[in-house]
Amino acid sequence: MSGFARATAPFARRLLRVTGVDPLGAYELLRAADPHGPEPSPGQFLMLATAERWGGGVDGRPYLPRAFSIARRRAGESHFLLEDVGPGTHRLAELRAGDALWALGPLGRGFSAPAAGKRAILIGGGAGIAPLAILQDTLGREATVLVGFRDAAHARGAELLRGARVATDDGAIGHRGPCTDLLAAELGRDPDAVVYACGPPAMLEAVRAMCASLSVDAQLALETGMACGFGACFGCAVPRLDGGYLRACVDGPVIDAAALERVPEAVGAHP
């Protein structure tokens, strides 16, 4: 696989100006002007914290910045898809146009481009669809996009992607059941593909196991609790197949599925 260019992050956090926060079903789409930020590679993330009142929520949290996949990059603006699951995402969802946002990044290893001729299957669950959007924008070829959500309100998130096939847990929209059902069907039809996946741990583990059994290459974007995002704290450990730990922030978040024995239960990840 040939890689996408991997951006180097400016060495200091910088202040972004929020240009909008719009509901997208159960999610919020946060947009911020980042004219001087380097172009991220798909799968990279930023560490975000509001400039004002980061803290002061329940139990004095949030305190540390939070990791968010860059969902889209357009005319100097970065987009993020978030779901209010705790004090950090709650505070971010409160932002309004004009508010200031601290950002560090782009960070992490993103996705690698598929080898010539290989078709790409993008599969995402919940807010995990975010990095698939910028990946789809970047791929420069048609890709199969499969997404899964809890219910209709969450399924609105699919609007972030072009031509996505949707599954919902409750069957309100599209296929009833996990989106990995859709993947199984796709790979059954034609296993000559690279799978790009992001979503809750159980979904990623299902993708990993399915791809391993079919010998299909898979790149998994992981989520773990992170304190720093740039390799300083060693807090984002993910057990490696050969023993020891990866650091999800610098060795990932996108990991070759073959490097993992199994996808660990996410820690501090959204549901």
Partner: protein, 336 residues
Amino acid sequence: MSAADGATRAPGSGRARADERAAPGAREGAGTVEFCGLRLAHRVINGSGTFDVVAARAVFGAALDERFPFAAYVSKTITLEPRAGNPPPRLWEAAQGLINSIGLPNKGLEAYMDEDVPALASLTTEVPAGPAAGTSRVAVPLVTNVMGSTAEELVELVDACHERAEISAVELNVSCPNVKTGLDIGADPVLLEHVVRATRERTSKPLVVKLTPNAADVPACARAAQAGGADAVSLINTLRAMALTPPARGERRHPWLGGGTGGLSGPALRTVALAQVAAVAESVSVPVIGMGGVENTAHARDLIDAGAALVAVGTENFRDPAAAARIARDLAETGL
């Protein structure tokens, strides 16, 4: 109420050294700062285990070396043998603080010496104060932080550091549990003095002892370190802390952290750090490296005014990797 009455002396009172330090004149002519015979660009360094230069270089590229934030670089704790560290989860966010249970992952002494030391030896940084402020660069000394659970292990680690010219100083992390007492080695003044003396004999390089804050009498531990021959002491390390898994029906709750308990760092313990640094600075004549919850120049200044010669930034690096540069610049502007 832990403290009974009886006023404490003003921090730094009676210590001419502290006066000189606090005054702008404490800087050398070139705007640099002298510390245990080392020449530093300013007073701000990193806390061990809170900045990985090798990883950060890959993330930030050349800018890291150009605008290197620390006046000295302290390595993560190195042990004789490689350690994988604790199982995840390793982090818990507390009220204005972070609990970590990282478990000292490191490649072990040999790989550190072979792979990392060469990469860490050529760091330089700008001098923010004095005649050549912002234009002259000085070397960033490498301080290697080591931990062992016996004096013999520590001697072996210090010997190895002594032999490497790239290493300018050694910091002993004495928070390792002592097999006999179950306490941290650093919480027992008698044992601590013995351990420091044993390592002191092995090297002429500056020896810094990083005290544990989980002790009944931290100044007594600092005096023991000094008596054993330490050139400086640093504090505070993290406070023992804990979090439980979220409550779930019918399930027994377990510690959240893979390591069981962890260490609290960050703003939550800032005032505890200030009290310990002030008490230690009054008790020893060797210089003190103060740390604990430093986020900005006011916090660094508090530690300096309480008697610290240098200030280390730990958890705040995670929120802003250039925090130390910001603080060093501001301190230089106020003449510190």
